[in-house]
């Protein structure tokens, strides 16, 4: 059932993401930058919050008066900042929800990725606590509703001495000191949130914590436009002698509050169940994955390319443990390794041109060795009766994921070293090579698409040699829902190949294969 749900949500995301890809390009696609946008919005909230705090006056009477003062008399700067503060906070909830759903839909929360998912669960709580404590400070009618309902909800738990809700029994029961406590909470909780966000990204390398500048600028511009068009305003001063009803709720933060009014116990049960469910999801069921990467020390000189390319911080350079004359060797943290194979693709010893002895590389996946990649290239060349012959290096998570025809299927296209493309073309195993990875903005293994693009372009080591005819290489970055586009691009590529001079001879391949093995 979870798999079906995941598939359904993924299709929705795919349609939306590809539309945004077409509109703004993969680099500026907001759905591919949700984590980075979350951080960016956090900083907007933090900066606008500091600005507002300078103008804010704590106290039963002063809080509302000071907020009204700067929202009306100084609307052009402080009022805008207030709107920034509120709407960026709301957007954090939106971005967080989309980020969670997207990672779920793309099955990027199980296996070695459990850590990022699990540490994201308290982040949800802290985002809500940050937002809710902020609403109290304004001390308008919404603040009164939030304060009384929150305290009544907390009082349901048998952990507090005197009911906290008694602080809001009558106007005389509220003290200025209470606002000092709230200000402290509204600063402390976001600081803890920032700490939790830092933990959240610990198990990935090159985390995207800043969106591209153009996207950041457009986000700010959109926020400004909405802030001017619909400024965030107070809802009349709080009056504990009256029930604030009706009250305009912020449905992003307070959508469950009506349930708190009716059944606080049920709400706590719901929150507890949802938290436990979310926390347990990486193991419902556990991801069955290939065994992690293994280092073959005689073929590893500790160059560090695999460490540089690993998207999951699963590789480290450590002092040498054998007698070879190198200072360092690579160690695999098997808990972090997702078996993407990108390390194999980055290893200089991963070259299929070796003709002496068994084909062994410095770092490899035991369940999908580099030798088996080369073997597959040979097999495909042997059985192919098409002309021109295509070798598709396909990502299992992209449009080529279900292809078997002429396809070398890998957990990530970046598992294939550029030398494999060179090998297939120069040794006559294919007339053209298609690198069919995930959609550019949705690489399942985070950096695989980027690394492969840079390798082919000669911008990243290991480079695709300049002698390799680029016209015989096609890169297709397509999601699983874009199978038709992949087929179309393959057909067009075949037509182009057919027009090229000096086509490779299918008859040559087996002979060359024998020579190579």
């Amino acid at each position: 059932m979870i798999a079906a749900l995941r598939h359904g949500v993924r299709r929705v995301f795919d349609v939306a993401e590809r539309s945004l890809d077409r509109l703004a390009g993969p680099a500026l696609n907001p759905l591919a930058q949700l984590g980075a946008l979350g951080f960016f919005l956090f900083w907007i909230v933090a900066v606008s919050g500091i600005y507002l705090f300078m103008l804010f006056d704590t106290g039963v009477e002063n809080a509302y008066a000071s907020v009204e003062w700067y929202s009306t008399r100084h609307a052009w700067h402080a009022g805008v900042m207030r709107s920034f503060h509120r709407y960026a906070s709301d957007m954090m909830v939106v971005v967080m929800a989309l980020h969670l759903l997207r990672e779920f839909a793309r099955d990027r929360y199980r296996g070695a990725r459990w850590f990022s998912w699990l540490t994201g669960v308290p982040v949800i709580w802290f985002i809500y606590m940050s937002g809710i404590t902020g609403y109290w400070l304004v001390w308008d009618q919404l603040a009164q509703y939030v304060a009384t309902t929150s305290t009544e909800l907390l009082d349901w738990l048998p952990i507090f001495g005197e009911p906290i809700a008694r602080n809001f029994l009558a106007p005389s029961s509220l003290s200025n000191r209470f606002f000092t406590l709230l200000v402290f909470l509204h600063i402390a909780v976001p600081l803890v949130l920032l700490f939790m966000l830092w933990i959240h990204i610990q198990r990935i390398t090159r985390p995207k914590v800043n969106p591209p500048r153009t996207l950041a600028a457009l986000t700010m511009l959109a926020l400004f436009a909405v802030s001017v068009a619909k400024p965030a305003l107070s809802q009349g001063p709080a009056d504990l002698a009256r029930v604030p009803s009706p009250v305009g709720l912020d449905w992003f933060y307070l959508s469950l509050y009506p349930l708190a009014d009716a059944a606080p116990g049920a709400l706590w049960g719901l929150l507890a169940a949802a938290t436990v469910m979310l926390a347990a999801m990486p193991w419902l069921p556990p991801l069955r994955r290939m065994r992690p990467a293994v280092v073959d020390l005689p073929h590893c000189n500790g160059c560090g390319r695999c460490v540089e390319d690993c998207p999951y911080d699963a590789l480290q350079l450590v002092p040498r443990t054998d007698d070879l004359p190198y200072a360092l060797e690579v160690a695999v943290d098997t808990d972090k390794c997702v078996s993407c194979g990108i390390c194999t693709g980055s290893c200089p010893s991963s070259t299929p041109f070796r003709s002496v002895g068994p084909l062994v590389t410095g770092i490899d996946l035991p369940d999908l060795t580099f030798a088996s990649q080369r073997e597959r290239v040979h097999e495909l060349a042997e059985v192919s009766d098409q002309s021109p012959r295509l070798l598709v290096i396909g990502c299992q998570h992209g449009a080529a994921g279900t292809r078997t025809d002429g396809t070398l299927s890998l957990p990530c296209v970046a598992m294939a070293p550029p030398s494999l493309i060179d090998y297939a073309l120069s040794r006559g195993f294919a007339d053209g090579v298609v690198v069919a990875g995930c959609a550019e903005s949705a690489c399942y293994n985070r950096l695989g698409v980027e690394w492969m693009q840079q390798r082919i372009a000669g911008e990243r080591d290991p480079y695709l040699r300049s002698r390799v005819p680029r016209e015989r290489i096609l890169s297709v970055w397509a999601s699983p829902t874009e199978g038709a586009r992949l087929d179309r691009e393959l057909a067009e590529f075949k037509n182009r190949l057919a027009t090229l001079t000096e086509p490779q001879s299918p008859a040559e391949a087996p002979a060359i294969r024998e020579a190579a093995s």
Partner: protein, 170 residues
């Protein structure tokens, strides 16, 4: 690796972002939520009050005092524990709360505490609150009956303040 994005496409992306922001802004204070029906008010019944001790204080015998260290020889021993408070609230002769509220704290030596909220129709109501905080087993030590008028949306709080003579409206 991506090509520069043209201005019309950037404008399109801005429209998308602005639309999402507008969605956020729209639901940041609407639709309004009504906590109580329009023709009702709220009566809160809440107090934090310490009842009498669960057992009477007693004077120690000279033998018991002699067994204690010299600096701890207090002639009267008073157990920490408190009794629960029996309280009752009726609105228009209908009992909306009745029960014993236990003392708080692990040692059961804290005040008994209650916070209840009752939504009532706007208009006049006769409210009676009763409370027992002594060793007596029947009847009440404190009682207050009063006719109150609740305006629509009004919030009245009935507290117990022994220093002010018992139940007080706040």
């Amino acid at each position: 690796m991506s090509a520069p994005v043209s201005m019309p496409r950037l404008a399109g992306l801005f429209v998308v972002l602005a639309a999402v922001m507008a969605f956020a802004a729209a639901f940041s204070d609407a639709p309004a939520y009504r906590q109580i029906p329009p023709d009702t008010g709220v009566i809160k019944f809440s107090f934090s009050h310490r009842a009498d001790r669960s057992q009477e204080c007693r004077r120690l015998t000279p033998e018991e005092l002699a067994k204690l260290p010299p600096n701890m020889r207090r002639p009267v021993e008073c157990p920490r524990g408190r009794r629960g408070i029996v309280a009752e609230l009726t609105i228009d002769n209908k009992t909306v709360f009745s029960g014993e509220i236990p003392p708080s704290g692990f040692a059961k030596d804290g005040p008994s505490q209650i916070y209840r909220r009752f939504v009532v129709k706007a208009g006049s109501h006769t409210v009676t609150a009763r409370l027992r905080d002594t060793p007596r087993t029947e009847g009440f030590d404190h009682e207050r009956t009063e006719a109150v008028t609740v305006a629509p949306g009004q919030s009245l709080a009935l507290d117990f303040r022994p220093e002010h003579g018992g139940f007080v409206w706040r």
